[in-house]
Every structure is written in C-alpha cells, then in structure tokens.
C-alpha cells in the first residue's frame, strides 16, 4: 500500500514539473498534479494487485484522467486540455520506447518487436480511454442540455395555459 502512495506522490510531482514545462498557469498546477497522481495511482493499484494487464490499466487510468479533467474544467471554467495534457503524461509509454531501443541495440529482434507492440498497445489504450470518456461526456452534455430545454419549454407552456 505504501508503495502505491509513494508512486502516486512521485507521479504528482512529475506532473507538476510538466505543468511548468508546458506553461500551465500557476493556479492550475496543483489540480493537474492531483489528476496525474490519481491516474498513476490507479494504474499502480491495478498492476500491483495483478487485477489486469498494463494495457487495461492504462485504459482505466486514461479514462480517469478524462473524467477528472472534464470535472475540473467545469468547476474552474477552463479548457479541459489544460488538465488532460499534463495528466496523461505519466501514462505515456516512454519506458517501453527505451526498452525497445535497448533491445534493438542488443540486436534482439524478438524483444524489439515485443516492446514496440507494447508501446503501440499502450498508446492505443490511452487513446481509447480518452475517447470513451470524451464521447460519453459529450453526449451527456447534449442530453442534459436538450432535457433542460424541454423542461423549461414545458414549464413555459404550463404557465401560459394557466
């Protein structure tokens, strides 16, 4: 358990570092740190309990980033990109790129192709995680907007009839 907490804190620190590199306004940096930390914490929680493969864990963590960023963008009234981009970075498979390259230098083609495939799978998992949340929140927004409009309209007609 303490392992996961340490990893979460480190990921939060790393994410906040990225925020500075990407010129995120200083008042949003803690929020980005929390989002990045939570995502990596969830990933580690799934991996360390052997609950699922790294790909599925990345998918879940990316979905969490999408969800939290959408929430934050609504509360703070700021574009969601500002939270998504730093938040997603701990999940980006930088280590796998390195392992693939190392295997290539060793001239070990088996390992190279394994790690390259893993890299692509993880990138796709991030994509799908964000995509799933993006699609759901977008349609939810439309539905709530339409429902609200319909309710308002019916209230108006009700008042008129009275």
């Amino acid at each position: 358990m303490s392992e996961i907490i340490i990893q979460t804190l480190l990921a939060a620190g790393g994410t906040m570092g990225f925020c500075v590199l990407f010129h995120v306004p200083i008042r949003h940096i803690p929020v980005c740190g929390i989002i990045g930390g939570c995502a990596w914490g969830l990933y580690q929680l799934i991996i360390l309990n052997n609950a699922s493969s790294p790909v599925m864990a990345t998918f879940m963590a990316a979905a969490l980033v999408g969800l939290l960023s959408d929430l934050a963008s609504r509360i703070i009234k700021e574009a969601a990109t500002i939270f998504i981009i730093p938040g997603i970075l701990p999940l980006v498979p930088g280590a796998y790129i390195f392992y693939a390259m190392q295997a290539l230098v060793r001239n070990d083609m088996m390992d190279t192709s394994t790690y390259l495939t893993d890299t692509i799978k993880l990138a796709a998992a991030i994509a799908l995680g964000l995509l799933a949340v993006g699609a759901v929140t977008k349609s939810l927004r439309e539905i709530t907007k339409k429902t609200a409009d319909a309710v308002l309209e019916s209230v108006e007609t009700f008042k008129d009839n009275k």
Partner: protein
C-alpha cells in the same frame, strides 16, 4: 462596414487562431474561436480549415457590394504553452460579449503572444524534477534520482539553448536525448550502486510526445482526420528521434568497451 474593416477582422481572427495552434490547441478549439470572433464582428459567414501546418480562412460579409476575402497562414514550429491557449480562449469569449474594438483586441493578442509565463531557470528546475520523479517511478534508487536530476537539468538547458536557433525538430530531440544519455552513462560509471536505465527513462520522459498523442486523439474524435494523422506522425517521429539519440550513444559506449 467597409472592406478595410473586414480585413482587420480577418487578420485578428487569423492571429488568434495562430497563437492557439502554435501553442498546441486542438483543431476544434482553433476553428471554433475563429468563427466565434468573426461572427461577433458581424461577418455573416466564415469558413475555416485548419491543420497543424496552416490555417485557411474565408469570410463573406454577406452583402453583394462586398467581396469575400481569404487568408492563408502557414505555420512552422509547434511549441506547447497552455497558458496562452487559456488566455486566448478566455479573451475570445470576452470579446464576443463586450464591445472591445478590433484595434484594442489586436493589442491584447500581441501582449498575450509576447508573454512568458515561466523563466528558463524555473523550467530547467522543473525538467530536473520530472526526470527525478520518473527515474524513481521506473525503479531508480536515491543515487540514481540525483544523477537523473543532473542529467534532466543539463539536457533541458541544451534544449532551451537549441530552441533559440530554429533547429530541425528531429535533430533537437536527438541531441537532447544523446546528451542526457552521455551524462547518465558517465556518472553511472563513476558513482557506485547505480544503473543507467531508470535515469535515461526519466530524462526521456521530459521529451516524450504526450501533447502530440493526446491532441491527435482529440482531433480524430472531433472528425479532423488530417490533423489527427499529422499529429500522430509527429508523435511517432519524435519518439523515433529520442530512441535514436539514446540508442546511438549506448551503442558507441558498448563498442568502445564502456561496459554495461
């Protein structure tokens, strides 16, 4: 409203779009901002087509006495600056609701474009922090973290220095990663109980194309296939440049008998 006014509005919208696109906004946001600003100035119909390498805008003022106008803006060199995206985004919303004149708006946008949020020294420290944190996450110990801190800071210093000269982005990623690997390998040879792998991974994370990957997905999601593909290609080539930088250094190190 004469055609001179229309031209000013067009330039304003192009400038706003350019700032957003250059600093890593999604296509949907750029096009939305441009259309919103034009329609706030009373332009009847606006068509925008934007990709990460250029913006094409046509405006039609909507009466027969005036001709439609088109502007093409070619863009080179993408960076990431969330602060500017946020500022332009908020400004464009404000611009549509109050009566800021076009000249004032242009002055505000120039101010936003010239703004620098964080000083280079602070960014170098942040890069060192990133390298340190990810070094420990990928299995580094305490001495590894310190070396990663040095390597990350040094390679980001080189990166900041290189970005002053408009150097090819492949070479940029290659050199930064090669420098980080050289420092990691040299210091690991001197300091006992260290391994170079987590250090190089940590410094690699600074340059990993996370923005390109995320934006390409978001572009695909909103139906901008061309930009999605362009950014995906950007991500792949950047990743290749990083791997090549680290790979060649490690190869030479092994060949010269550095011993890993």
């Amino acid at each position: 409203m004469d055609s001179n006014y229309n031209k000013k509005v067009l330039m304003l919208a192009v400038y706003a779009g350019e700032i957003m696109m250059k600093n890593g906004a999604e296509i949907y946001r750029v096009e939305d901002t441009i259309v919103r600003m034009c329609s706030a100035c009373g332009i009847k119909s606006t068509e925008v087509f934007s990709t990460p390498t250029g913006i094409f805008i046509s405006i039609d003022p909507g009466d027969d006495s005036q001709e439609a106008q088109t502007y093409i803006k070619r863009m080179r060199g993408l960076t990431t600056d969330m602060g500017k995206i946020s500022l332009v985004n908020n400004f464009s919303r404000r611009f549509t609701s109050d009566d800021t004149s076009v000249e004032e708006a242009m002055a505000i946008l120039r101010k936003i474009d010239g703004k620098r949020t964080y000083h280079t020294q602070i960014r170098i420290m942040a890069a060192a922090l990133v390298a340190m944190c990810f070094c420990v996450i990928f299995g580094g110990g305490f001495p590894d973290a310190l070396i990663a801190c040095v390597a990350g800071g040094a390679s980001y210093t080189i990166s900041a220095y290189l970005s002053k000269y408009e150097i090819n982005y492949f070479i940029h990623g290659f050199l930064c990663c090669a420098a980080a690997s050289i420092i990691a390998l040299l210091l690991c040879g001197v300091v006992p109980n260290t391994s170079y792998q987590p250090i190089i991974i940590g410094t690699l994370m600074i340059y990993v194309p996370g923005v390109a990957i995320t934006n390409s997905i978001r572009d695909f999601l909103s139906g901008d296939m061309l930009s999605g593909l362009a950014r995906m290609a950007d991500a792949v080539i950047t990743a290749a440049s990083l791997a090549a930088g680290a790979g060649i250094v490690i190869q030479i190190w092994t060949m010269t008998g550095g011993g890993i």
